[in-house]
């Protein structure tokens, strides 16, 4: 699934990570930095890197609907804590810091705040999915044979819906795990 465009200084990689693949993405970006490719910009399904000295960089992603006028304050708190703001994609903010003595620093240090992050991600997913389920049902029942109804369209739509529902399940499981940690 990877497509790479590369020259000496820059490299763009097209890669799909889902919201429940945070750990995988962290590891991948860390390995890229260790190879001297440092993340420069994130977009929809692509990652752009800049060539530099190899460094052991730890990446963390925050999901946060931040208002424009709060953005400065938000990023300043991360920078003060030793994190560099790299890029954003939608409500996802990418930060990195250099690994020290093998320690992996965290941006979330208690379960209550971690829980909030995944709850707001979950509510966004639910808000996105619910109307789609409604439209899909309408398409299958009332608007059969009305364009854009066709087998490929229905199939594609069903696939996207399955992915969204699967996402909701995965994020709910993450939330469940954090809740269990809180109770212990």
């Amino acid at each position: 699934m990877n497509k790479v465009t590369e020259n000496m200084e820059n490299k763009t990689v097209f890669k799909v990570f889902f919201a429940w693949h945070e750990k995988k993405k962290e590891q991948w970006l860390r390995k890229m930095s260790n190879d001297g490719w440092h993340l420069d910009r994130v977009g929809f399904l692509y990652y752009r890197f800049k060539k530099g000295e190899p460094k052991d960089m730890i990446y963390k992603f925050d999901f946060k609907p931040v208002r424009r006028k709060e953005l400065d304050d938000y990023i300043t708190i991360f920078e003060d804590a030793g994190w560099e703001y790299v890029s954003r994609s939608g409500n996802w903010y990418y930060f990195r810091t250099e690994a020290k003595e093998g320690l992996i620093p965290e941006i979330y240090t208690d379960n209550a705040s971690k829980l909030k992050k995944y709850k707001s991600l979950l509510s966004l997913l639910v808000v996105l999915t619910m109307p789609q389920i409604y439209f899909f049902t309408m398409m299958l029942t009332r608007f059969r044979n009305v364009p854009p109804y066709s087998l490929p369209v229905t199939f594609l739509y069903a696939l996207i819906l399955c992915l969204l529902v699967y996402g909701i399940i995965r994020i709910s499981l993450i939330i469940k795990r954090i809740k269990q940690d809180i109770r212990e």
Binding site: K60, D62, K64, E70, D72, D73, Y74, T76, I77, F78, D80, A81, W83, F95, P105, E106, I107, Y108, T109, D110, A112, S113, K114, K116, K117
Partner: protein, 110 residues
């Protein structure tokens, strides 16, 4: 009082952030103060701190203050009257817990 009972118990993180703000501080100063108060036990991550600050502002326990001139990039926060009342309530509650714990442990001769 009912409002305060609803907000109690505070998480350890929230409690420490709230007591830190008995003097006006910006985010980074809060992190430093909490490290000191907790004898290096609690290092607040920036995600946790930012989230806690917006929640505390949302519930009216702290308010963002006037940005000071030397440090205009950093927003300053200060505790409200409600925030202080909540701390008092929490301190009494924790004292009761600590005292009961101590007394009962003592009785068993541990």
């Amino acid at each position: 009082m009912n409002r305060i009972k609803k907000l109690s118990p505070l998480t350890e993180t929230t409690f420490y952030i709230l007591v830190s703000l008995l003097e006006p501080l910006h985010g980074y100063a809060i992190m430093q103060k909490v490290i000191n108060l907790s004898n290096d036990r609690i290092h607040l991550g920036p995600g946790t701190l930012y989230g806690a600050l917006s929640n505390l502002v949302g519930t009216g326990l702290i308010i963002p203050g006037e940005p000071n001139k030397q440090n205009s990039r950093r927003k300053i926060y200060i505790i409200t009257k409600l925030g202080k009342e909540l701390i008092e309530f929490e301190v009494n509650r924790l004292e009761e817990m600590a005292n009961n714990g101590k007394t009962l442990l003592g009785k068993k001769g541990v």
